[in-house]
């Protein structure tokens, strides 16, 4: 993993922690890369709101996805957004 990718991951994780604390009172210490979203209290409704907030913050759009490809862990969520945040994926 490159240093820039690591920095990007940390920034996305920090955004996630801030959002989940603000919106759902989820302790930031529980929001670790390996944590399962369901286990830390992120249900389908919070997830969709969370993805909306991340899209707005990072200026990206997540395409509609089927149930099987939805992120189930914090790391998968971060990967999804980091992939979209790559320069070629940015929307105008």
């Amino acid at each position: 993993m490159t240093l820039s990718r690591l920095t990007q991951d940390m920034q996305t994780l920090e955004l996630l922690r801030q959002y989940l604390q603000k919106k759902a009172s989820i302790d930031p210490a529980r929001v670790t890369p390996e944590a399962r979203l369901e286990d830390i209290g992120v249900d389908s409704l919070i997830l969709i709101d969370l993805m909306f907030e991340l899209e707005e913050s990072l200026n990206v759009r997540v395409p509609n996805m089927d149930m099987d490809s939805r992120p189930t862990t914090v790391a998968e969520l971060i990967d999804l957004f980091d992939a979209l945040s790559a320069p070629q994926a940015k929307i105008a």
Binding site: K22, K23, A24, S25, L45, D49, F52
Partner: protein, 418 residues
Amino acid sequence: MTRHRVAVTGLGLIGPFGSDPAAAFDRLMAGESAIRPYVPEPSILKTPVPAVVCDQFGAEAALGRTTAGMTDRYAQFGIAAALNAWRDAGLPTGSPPQELVRGSVCWGTGLGGTRAVELAYFDVLQKGRTRTSPLLIVMGMHNAAAAHIAMRLGLGGAATTTSVACASSAIALGEALRLIRHGEAEIVVAGGSEAPLTAGMLLAWDAMRVLARGDGDAARSACRPFSADRAGLVLGEGGAALVLEPYERAEQRGARIYAELAGYGASCDHHHLAQPLATGQMRALRAALDDAGLATEELDYVNSHGTGTVEGDPVEIDALRQVFGARAEAVAVSSTKSMLGHMLGATGAVEALITVLALARQQVPPTAHLRDVDPACEGVRHVAGIGQDLALRAALSSSFAFGGSNAVLAFRRHVSTH
């Protein structure tokens, strides 16, 4: 088939005087108005309008951050009122709650999550945002309050929402009465909530030329039902919930019984969208008395719809005069909207709560600011200015809606046998 009597065992309120029903009732007895000058955000209106605001209410403190963040203000009032009523009934509020498969919610709201929807569209249409929150659908839907109440309390029976303008929550309470009476539910949280004080809503009501005016101190007495100088209605926000259960269940668990919800009558004027008709109201009044098995001689108080409009108040008094005949002069009548404003879909529940407390305390709150009764509104015993101690056996709470829908609830005093 067994016909269960329905006990009111819990009261929950979110109002301008806070969430303690007894304390709010005291302030109503003193004739204190909660009406203040108000300017909604975004401030489209040029001048403040009199309104009733629940400014002590904090959604996060009452409901927690997660629920507060995904609900419209109307639902927040409703959930908080329901939780208060549940606690007041001495029932447990565990998390997760114990499932009650025969527990129901009957809720009323006229506008539902209109505030969330309006603010989101304002952002899109005025601020140039291109997206709305993905939570807007579940915030805006009319049954959001009922759904959250059922989730919080583990109520697994029917959760319904009635939207019939200003009669919404009176009808919800009437439907709840039927669920208990016919054995379809063993406990029901019934009530209503409304948060109508948005810029768009105030503009629309103002355009109908029915909003009372008055700035500064004059705002307090802007709503003057039955008064010769009445000049319109005042909008308010809030919510109330009643816990209803069969008498035998309430007595078995040693619950405090405030009053009996004894009858419900509904009708439609089938006449006009906004012009009330005495004959239609009379059908609902008589149906409620019949349903409760009450003779007009047993009825001592009517918490009236009494909005303070020029057109509406005389029609309501005419209906009461015709239903009660010679006894009308002895029936105490008041409109608590003179102090709490008109909470639209929540008004039936809030006024039902007040009527229950009136019976429990043997006290009638007044129509504030009523000095000179309009001759067209005479013929009943107006309780004006401040409240009165009165012996009350039974009371009605009336709600008459745009669209011509009428709903009347009949309550009997509970006399403890212990």
